[in-house]
Amino acid sequence: MATLKELTHREDRLAGGHRLCAGCGASIAVRQVLLGAGEDPVVVGCATGCLEVSTTIYPYTSWKTPFIHNAFENSAATISGVEAAFKGLKRAGKIPADKRVKFVAFGGDGGTYDIGLQSLSGAMERGHDMVYVCYDNGAYMNTGIQRSSATPKGAWATTAQVGPAQAGKQQRRKDLTQIMAAHGIPYVAQASISHWKDLTEKAAKAFAVEGPAFINVFAPCPRGWRIPFDKTVEIAKLAVQTGFWPLYEVEDGVWRQTVKVVNRKPVEEFLRPQGRFKHLFAPGNEALLAEIQADVDRAWEQLQRRFSEA
């Protein structure tokens, strides 16, 4: 695996000067993932969302590598078509048979957990040689912080508001990483922008695998989470340390925890600094808070059993 020093010498495929907010987790996720791609050329696809609109404002582009945006729900299908073209053109003799190219599709949690789930599932089942990366910021940020199925229970969102009748989002979040693991594809991982080494190593594995790979990257959104823009990495780290976002991988069906959490912190430490959870700390919401902790505990225990199964 590359050292930090080596990584800093690799050229960034996503240039600075894009229009994402200061402290946005999405660009950190992209840069770390692409550093893991190594030296082969990379073709990038991206779903509609903050990342796409902020990096491709015509006539400018932040992408120093071939890039395609098609629509919101079809980043996976689009890149599967590009990868198919690569195979077809090779067979036609128009691309040398030994040419190596990596294909990666990015999508936000909305474009992945919700509207693009079918497209992603289809592409993974078909076995395209591609990596799909979800940058999960837990809401539809681009359209103004609406809830998604990745939004944590209890979080405020503009379509899951806080009032006397309801304390933010009522439902638990969907566990997409496990859904992807259930596809039985060669490589699935859950990662966080706070753990750069873990993430770049997972990306390197995902790109090295022949066939489909999926990585779910925790990527805080200061704007939507109501946190200062210099707290992105800190909050992401707390998600890992509280067990809210466990870091693990599933390689050929073998589940492995990649970052151990020794003294798991209470989930409150992750929730409290974020404005979107402010109401949970008002008197009367103690039960909800306890429920959120219980949810994290149960999911954590279940996951530990998977690891021990290995």
Binding site: P41, V43, G45, E52, V53, T56, I57, Y58, P59, T61, W63, K64, T65, P66, F67, I68, H69, N70, A71, E73, N74, A77, T78, I79, S80, G81, V82, A84, A85, F86, K87, G88, L89, R91, A92, K94, I95, V101, Q118, S119, S121, G122, A123, E125, R126
Partner: protein, 395 residues
């Protein structure tokens, strides 16, 4: 003109054959009646190793067109096929394919749209996509479906055009009936369509390009759309040139519209697709009876042949437009609206009556066509035109 093999085959079989002969690098498709046998027969070519195509068995039509877009942007020759609900599910992607100027060729086996669900022929599916920026060809017969598919590749990939082309054939009537079809040999088709020379392809790795950029925030969206309009206008000449070249190769003339009996016709029917055969049949009988009737069949609906249609209809007293699709809330079906528009600047505007027929595969009996000509001859004789659209054969 080259020598050709005459076969008895269905429209779908010869469309699959044309696809094979055009050597697509990628086919991404999803099955739907009555398109299904196209993708099944193409899958058989893949299994037998008769094509180099990467065949992507997507999980939906939305993904079919999404994958076609990715593959076409990558620089591949891309083809697909669909029908009805499948085309409707692609709606968002149809506009993206044309907006990104990608020369995808898609066969559409025309079928009614739900609700109520119905698997039989009408043109609602294609007509619903008529403003999506695709060039649209319609076939009367299996032969035309075969010929249109091959021409579509040349038209789409022409550098003056770079637009997707939809090649339509009537569900079941053309897709599933066995017809007599002349097939070109593989070399002739390969020579005719040539190879795709993609520029600014995604897989031109030394020259990275961003496809599908954001053109909001005061960006040049309007100018992109103007460029798209100019491209489809340029395609008029390209469609004609490719049609002429194809006619020289195959011996089968191609026109954006085709006329029968129009030289001295007093009344005419304008029609699209397989029904043109029924209409000609009735017209021939009426001619034998001394009635001056004619037929205009539209073969290229987008870009619409306004000038050619106005020219063909100059001199007639009454026109019937037969629409196999609705445009609810409009004065008539899509073809009616276009025909009226084509005639607006004519010096002697004929009466124009709209008929809606054959929706969901409802029978297009010869008596119905006779009743249309009957109306027209009455109007030419001074009777008032009926208020349209007239629902032909509705109980």
């Amino acid at each position: 003109m080259v020598e050709q093999k005459v076969v008895a085959a269905t429209g779908n079989t010869v469309v699959a054959e044309a696809m094979r002969q055009c050597k697509p690098d990628v086919v991404a498709a999803y099955p739907i009646t009555p398109q299904t046998t196209i993708v099944e027969e193409f899958a058989a070519f893949v299994a037998k190793g008769r094509v180099h195509t990467e065949y992507v068995t997507v999980e939906s039509e939305h993904s079919a067109m999404s994958a076609c877009i990715g593959a076409s942007a990558a620089g591949a020759r891309v083809m697909t096929a669909t029908s009805s609900q499948g085309l409707a599910l692609m709606w968002e992607e149809l506009y993206i394919a044309s907006g990104m100027r990608l020369p995808i060729v898609m066969a559409n086996a025309n079928r009614a749209l739900s609700a109520p669900i119905n698997i039989h022929c009408d043109h609602s599916d294609a007509m619903g996509a008529r403003d999506a920026g695709w060039i649209m060809l319609f076939a009367e017969t299996a032969q035309e479906a075969y010929d249109n598919t091959i021409m579509a590749v040349r038209i789409a990939e022409d550098y003056e055009v770079l637009l997707p082309v939809m090649s339509c054939l009537d569900g079941f009537i053309t897709t599933h009936s066995i017809d007599r079809v002349s097939l070109l040999d593989d070399e002739s088709v390969a020579g005719f369509v040539g190879e795709r020379e993609a520029e600014r392809a995604l897989l031109d790795l030394e020259h990275p390009v961003t496809h599908g950029a954001f053109a909001g925030l005061g960006g040049p969206y309007l100018e992109f759309k103007k460029a798209q309009r100019q491209a489809i206008e340029r395609s008029r000449a390209v469609v004609k040139r490719v049609g002429d070249e194809y006619a020289a190769l195959s011996g089968r003339p191609f026109g954006v519209l085709e006329t029968w009996g129009m030289d001295d016709a007093e009344v005419a029917v304008v029609v699209i697709g397989s029904t043109a055969g029924n209409v000609r049949h009735v017209a021939r009988a009426l001619r034998a009876d001394g009635k001056k009737v004619g037929v205009v069949k539209i073969r290229c609906f987008r870009p619409f042949p306004y000038a050619e249609l106005a020219e063909a209809l100059s001199g007639v007293k009454a026109v019937a437009v037969m629409d196999r699709a609705e445009s609810f809330g409009a004065e008539g079906g899509p073809l009616y609206l276009e025909t009226r528009s084509a005639l607006y600047d004519a010096s002697n505007r004929p009466a124009v009556v709209g008929y809606v027929y054959g929706l969901g595969g409802s029978d297009v009996k010869l008596e119905l066509v006779e009743s249309v000509y009957g109306d027209l001859l009455d109007i030419a004789g001074g009777a008032a035109a009926p208020a349209g659209p007239v629902y032909l054969g509705a109980r």
